[in-house]
């Protein structure tokens, strides 16, 4: 008897507790150094976006006339006269402006992805599940949106509605959210559609159907949770594109209304002064680079963690 129980002992390595998919994925994520660095920077950016105004003595729109008088109207260089990043040519504290820019970028990141989630996922799920006319409609919309160069559409929409209430809402940002959201949800819808199409043929769906589970319940309880990995990855990687689109618009002078300034606005201002006082260009450029990279690395890490089969694939 004694020898038999010994033979049944679990071999080493298999005695670990079963881990959930999420715990497993999280473990893989934290082992990925780039993803961790990206994640930490994302957290810092979110923190700065929320608490920015409390971290600096200057509001973003305040003008330091004293410093301007002292320099004779030339931008204050970094680390002087109480300005960590110096000031711009009008005497605005650059650090405070960059913090407000972080708030704008993070808001764009958040709101656009909310639009993408609330339009893209239901549309994609409906198209994938019902097929037929729904699916056709989605694919035709996709054709048009893809043929319309993104930035052109966003610019057109932004400038067309600039002088209406819609264009003025949330310092002009509402329009930017909607414009970027409209061109972005299609990609999510296509992704979800593809996922649903492939999952729809699985046996557990057939089983659920056989016992009379409603369509809505099958899609929401069985299909979408199984498609969540790629969706999370698409959302994370969609954020840098949204941030980039917003900055590009701001750079062109479209989007957020003065006195608020997006990183794109700051870069445009900085470009005018770049040969004499490059700090006005360099600091916002670093800010945007950090934001773009951190979300990209986090997204890459999440993809590898959530779907080890896809490791390294874009």
């Amino acid at each position: 008897m004694a020898t038999r129980t010994q033979a049944l002992e679990v071999p080493a390595g298999l005695d670990a507790k079963p881990t959930s998919l999420w715990r497993d994925a999280f473990g893989r994520l934290v082992r990925n150094r780039m993803a961790v660095v990206g994640g930490v920077i994302v957290l810092i950016l979110v923190f700065l976006a929320i608490f920015g105004p409390f971290l600096t003595p200057y509001p973003y729109s305040a003008i330091d006339y004293k410093a301007m008088a002292a320099t004779g109207g030339i931008p204050v260089p970094p680390l002087s006269m109480g300005h960590l990043f110096g000031t711009d040519n009008l005497g605005h504290d650059l650090f405070s402006r960059i913090l407000d820019g972080a708030r704008i970028s993070m808001t764009v990141a958040l709101v656009v992805q909310v639009v993408v989630i609330f339009i893209g996922i239901p549309m994609g799920a409906a198209a994938g599940w019902f097929g037929g006319r729904m699916d056709n409609l989605l694919m035709r919309i996709t054709d048009v949106v893809y043929a319309f160069p993104d930035l052109l559409f966003i610019i057109l929409l932004s400038i067309s509605f600039k002088d209406t209430w819609f264009g003025g809402a949330v310092d002009g940002l509402l329009l930017v959210f909607v414009a970027i959201g409209i061109v972005s949800w299609v990609t999510m819808a296509r992704l979800v559609r593809g996922q649903i199409l492939s999952l729809k043929e699985t046996e557990y769906v057939e089983a659920a159907r056989a016992i009379g589970v409603s369509d809505f319940r099958i899609v929401s309880r069985h299909l979408l949770p199984n498609a969540i990995g790629p969706v999370i990855v698409a959302i994370t990687l969609g954020i840098p594109s949204a941030i980039l689109a917003e900055s590009t618009l701001a750079f062109l002078g479209i989007g957020v209304n003065p006195p608020r300034a997006s990183w794109g606005t700051l870069i445009n201002d900085g470009s005018l002064w770049m040969s004499s006082t490059p700090h006005m260009l360099v600091f916002p450029a670093i800010a945007i680079a950090l934001a773009l990279l951190s979300f990209t690395f986090l997204g890459d890490g999440l993809r590898d963690a959530l779907d080890p089969k896809l490791k390294g694939k874009q």
Binding site: Y146, A147, F148, P149, L151, I267, M274, L281
Partner: protein
Amino acid sequence: MTAYIIRRVLWLIPVLFVVSVITFALMHSAPGGPWQREKPLPAATVALLDEKYKLDQPVIVQYLTWAGNMLTGDLGPSYKYRSRDVNDMVASGIGPTLQLGVMAFLLSVLVGIPLGVIAALRQNKVPDYLATGISVIGIATPSFVLAFLLVLIFASGLHWFPTGGWRGPETWVMPTVALAAFPIAQIARYTRASMLEVTRKDYVRTAQSKGLKERSIVVVHMIRNALIPVVTILGPIFAGLVTGSFIIETIYSIPGIGKFYVNSIGQRDYGVIMAMTMLYAAAVAVMNLVVDIGYAYIDPRIRYS
């Protein structure tokens, strides 16, 4: 295959039609018009101008007039540049824009793919880190930032290149690099991932165990297969170059058509907006089609029906 191509080409017509309707509707739904100035023009002048350019007619009539003219090759007048019509502007600007786009596209393919291949073949070694570093710069630096940094370093600093214009090869370098940096990064990342995927395939192991030369395994078996998924992203990349070009054209004062675009929307220069949007949309749609067809040619497993 021929039937598929014909179907796709015909499908372009309704797509471009919808794009034109959306653009036209958006333009005309916005308050303000082409005659709005800081100092308002007298109402009588506006009425006369409206009449001359038929802006007093219902929007639908205006659209039909525009569409009819466009189909006969007449893109209409420009309200901003009163002495030129849109055909003129497109004709003079299309050269530099096209050249910039093609050069940037070639540069991104010719640099991006080798970078990705080298990175994958020397995974986690110095060349991989170098290639990854270049992609990181491409992702982290928006084209408009890179454009200024290049001017700051290579024009103002080192005086290697002029700061702008479009007069000869020395003026082409910086705009092309600024425009191509992001697509280079995208293509390199994608190629690297695709190559790594292929490395693990059975047919590569078979080739290795047969004792084929490393070189022929890489070229014949790996690169050819790894490039198939890369081709699919060339369509979106081209679209990105198209829209990216008007920022670069503005920064480097290149006399292309992109430069007119942003201004024309602000000034409600309807003819220019419509012409540019249609031109860009058509270019992107055609490029997507070319990519899809090219995809079938390089991957015999794909058959469209």
